[in-house]
C-alpha cells in the first residue's frame, strides 16, 4: 500500500511540474513581448526596457522558469497586467461563487444520475435500454449554454419565477445549478445504467438471483458495489469537464466566479490572470484524481496489491 501511494504521489508531482512548464511556455515564450502587453503598443523604448528589467525578461528562459516555480511554491501567481492586483488574491475572491455552483450541481446531478441509472438498469438491447441510451445521447449533445438560455427563457422571461442571472440568494443559484446538474445527471445516469445493466447480466448475479437473494440486495450489494470503482474514477476525471461547463454556465448567467474571471481576463489580454486560473483548475483536477487514486485502496481491496 505504501508503495502504491508513493507511486501515485510521484506521478501527481511530475504532472504538476509538467503543467507549470506548459503554462510557462504558453505565457512567456509564445507571446511576443509581455512588456508591450503591459505598457501598450505606443509606449516608448525606455519604459519598455524598464518593465523588461523589472520582470526579469532579459534573463535566460531557464532562469525565468526557475524563478516562476520559486514564486509558485510561495503561492505567488504573479500580478494582473490590468489591475496590478495579485492573481492569487483575485482567484481567492472568485472561488466561493464557483465552488458553490460546482458543488451544488455536482451533488444534485451525481445523486439523481446514479439513482436514474440504477432504476433504469435493464436487459441490454431492450426497449428501456435503448430509450435511456437515446435520451442521454441527445441530452448530452445539446450545448450547455443553450440549455442555460432555454431555462432563462422559460423560468426568467416567461414564468417570471427566477432572476435572469447574477449572484445573490438561493433564487439566483437555481437556474445555473440546474443547467450544470442537467449535464451531470445525464452523464452519470448513462454510465451507471450501462454498467449496472452489464453486471446484472453476468453469471455471478444470476447465481445470486437463483439462490434467492432479494432484488434490492442484488442491486446494492452486487451490481452497485461492482460499479463503484469506475464511478469513482469517472468522478475524478469529471472535475476537468465540470470546470469547462462552469466557464460556459457562468457566462450565460453572469455568475461572478472563476469562469467569468478567466473569460474577462482573455478579453483584457491579462495573461498572468488567465494562466493563474488555468493552473489553479489544473491543480484542482490533479488533487481530485489523486484523491480518487488513493480511494481505490479503500473501495477495492484488489488494488492494494496491484
Amino acid at each position: 500500500m505504501a508503495g502504491y501511494v508513493a507511486r501515485r504521489l510521484l506521478r501527481a508531482a511530475t504532472t504538476l511540474l509538467g503543467t507549470t512548464l506548459v503554462l510557462f511556455v504558453l505565457v512567456r515564450v509564445i507571446p511576443a513581448d509581455p512588456a508591450v502587453s503591459i505598457a501598450g503598443p505606443k509606449a516608448d523604448p525606455a519604459t519598455l526596457a524598464a518593465i523588461r528589467k523589472d520582470l526579469g525578461l532579459d534573463d535566460p528562459l531557464a532562469v525565468q522558469y526557475g524563478r516562476y516555480l520559486w514564486r509558485l511554491a510561495h503561492g505567488d501567481l504573479g500580478r494582473s497586467y490590468v489591475t496590478g492586483r495579485g492573481v492569487a488574491a483575485v482567484i481567492g475572491e472568485r472561488l466561493p461563487a464557483t465552488a458553490l455552483l460546482a458543488v451544488t450541481s455536482l451533488a444534485i446531478g451525481f445523486t439523481l444520475g446514479v439513482a436514474v441509472g440504477l432504476l433504469t438498469a435493464a436487459r441490454q438491447g431492450s426497449a428501456a435500454d435503448l430509450a435511456v441510451l437515446i435520451a442521454t445521447l441527445v441530452g448530452l449533445s445539446i450545448p450547455t449554454f443553450f440549455v442555460g438560455n432555454l431555462l432563462v427563457y422559460a423560468f426568467g422571461y416567461r414564468l417570471r419565477l427566477l432572476p435572469l442571472g447574477g449572484y445573490g440568494g438561493l433564487s439566483h443559484l437555481i437556474l445555473p445549478a440546474a443547467t450544470l446538474a442537467f449535464v451531470e445527471l445525464l452523464f452519470y445516469a448513462r454510465f451507471v445504467h450501462s454498467n449496472v445493466s452489464g453486471t446484472l447480466a453476468s453469471d455471478y448475479v444470476r447465481t445470486a438471483r437463483a439462490k434467492g437473494v432479494p432484488p434490492l440486495r442484488l442491486y446494492l450489494r452486487h451490481a452497485l458495489r461492482n460499479a463503484l470503482v469506475p464511478i469513482v474514477t469517472l468522478l475524478g476525471l469529471d472535475v476537468a469537464s465540470l470546470m469547462s461547463g462552469v466557464v460556459l454556465t457562468e457566462t450565460v448567467f453572469n455568475w461572478p466566479g472563476l469562469g467569468r474571471l478567466a473569460v474577462q481576463a482573455v478579453f483584457n489580454l491579462d495573461i498572468p490572470l488567465v494562466a493563474g486560473t488555468v493552473l489553479f483548475s489544473a491543480v484542482l483536477v490533479l488533487a481530485c484524481n489523486l484523491a480518487v487514486d488513493l480511494l481505490y485502496g479503500v473501495i477495492d481491496p484488489r488494488v492494494q496489491h496491484g
Binding site: R11, T14, T15, G18, T19, V22, L23, L26, I30, P31, Q124, G125, D129, L130, L133, I134, L137, V138, L140, S141, I142, P143, T144, F145, F146, N149, L150, V152, Y153, Y157, L237, A240, S241, M243, S244, V247, L248, T251, V252, A262, V263, V266, F267, L269, I271, V274, A275, T277, V278, S281, A282, V285, L286, N289
Partner: protein, 274 residues
C-alpha cells in the same frame, strides 16, 4: 451488445441528420437570395419574426437568419472536420508509436496525455485562442491540438493487443521493418475504432467550436457562426426567441447526428466501446 438492427437504425438516423446539414452547407448560395452578412430589411425596426420573405426571421442587425444558418453550416462543418483531422493525425501517430515501441517512449507519450487530461479543455482552448490570432485555420488547429488524447489512448490500447497477434509476429520474423509493421499490419487493425472516434471527434469539435464562439473567441466576425449567433442575440431572447432557438437547434442537430453515427458504428464495425 445491442442488436445490430437497432444500431443500424441509429446510424442511419445520424447519417440522415448530417446529410441535411452537409446539403445546407454545399447548396448555401442556392438556398437563399440573401448575403448572410448584410442588413436585408429596408427599414430596421428591430428583429422580425419569421415571414414569407424571411422564413426564420431577421436578427438584431436586420440580417436574414436562414441565410446565416445555411452559411454558418459551412463554418461548423469546416471547423469540425479540420479539428477532427488534426486530432486524428496526432492521436493515431502517438497511439501507434506508444503502443508499438512501448517502454520509455510509451511512458513519455502517456505522460503528455495525462498532462492534457488534467487541464480543463475549454480553459486550455481559451488560453491558446488568446495567443493565436483567431482565424478559420487557427481555431480548428487549437481544438485539434487540445482534443487528440482520446484517439491516442484508444489506438494505443488496440496496438498493445494487436502487436502480439501471430500475423504481426510472423511479419516481424520475416524481417519486416518497424515502419512496415506499423503501417501495413497495425494501422489497418485500428481502423474500426478510428472511424468511431472520427465521428465522435466531429461532434466534440463542433460542440467546442460552438462554445468558443459563444464566448466570443471563435472564428472572427464576418464569418457566420452558429455559436456566436446565440451570444449576439441572447439579450433579445424575450422579444425574439427564434434568434436563439434556431442556431441552438442547428448546433444540437449536428452534434446529435455525429454522435448517433459514432454509436451506431461501434456495433456495426465491432469496435470496442470507449
Amino acid at each position: 451488445m445491442a442488436d445490430t438492427g437497432r444500431s443500424r437504425l441509429l446510424f442511419l438516423v445520424g447519417v440522415g441528420m448530417i446529410t441535411v446539414i452537409v446539403l445546407l452547407a454545399l447548396l448555401a448560395p442556392r438556398l437563399t437570395p440573401y448575403d448572410p452578412d448584410v442588413t436585408v430589411v429596408a427599414r430596421y425596426t428591430g428583429p422580425q419574426p419569421p415571414s414569407a420573405a424571411h422564413p426564420l426571421g431577421t436578427d438584431t442587425l436586420g440580417r436574414d437568419v436562414w441565410a446565416r444558418i445555411v452559411f454558418g453550416a459551412r463554418t461548423s462543418l469546416a471547423v469540425g472536420a479540420l479539428a477532427m483531422l488534426v486530432s486524428l493525425g496526432i492521436g493515431v501517430a502517438v497511439g501507434l508509436l506508444a503502443g508499438y515501441f512501448g517502454s520509455w517512449l510509451d511512458a513519455a507519450l502517456m505522460w503528455v496525455v495525462d498532462l492534457l487530461l488534467t487541464m480543463p479543455t475549454l480553459l486550455l482552448l481559451i488560453v491558446l485562442a488568446t495567443l493565436l490570432p483567431p482565424s478559420l485555420l487557427t481555431i480548428p488547429l487549437v481544438i485539434g491540438i487540445v482534443g487528440w488524447t482520446t484517439f491516442a489512448r484508444t489506438v494505443r490500447g488496440e496496438v498493445l493487443s494487436l502487436r502480439e497477434r501471430d500475423y504481426v509476429l510472423a511479419a516481424r520474423a520475416l524481417g519486416a521493418s518497424h515502419g512496415r509493421v506499423i503501417v501495413r499490419h497495425l494501422l489497418p487493425g485500428t481502423l474500426p475504432s478510428v472511424l468511431v472516434l472520427a465521428a465522435l471527434g466531429m461532434s466534440g469539435a463542433i460542440g467546442l467550436d460552438a462554445g468558443l464562439s459563444y464566448l466570443g473567441l471563435g472564428v472572427p466576425l464576418p464569418t457566420p457562426s452558429w455559436g456566436r449567433m446565440i451570444s449576439e442575440t441572447q439579450t433579445y431572447f424575450a422579444v425574439a426567441p427564434w434568434l436563439v432557438v434556431v442556431p441552438g437547434v442547428a448546433i444540437s442537430t449536428a452534434v446529435i447526428g455525429f454522435n448517433l453515427i459514432g454509436y451506431g458504428l461501434v456495433d456495426l464495425l465491432g469496435a470496442p466501446r470507449t
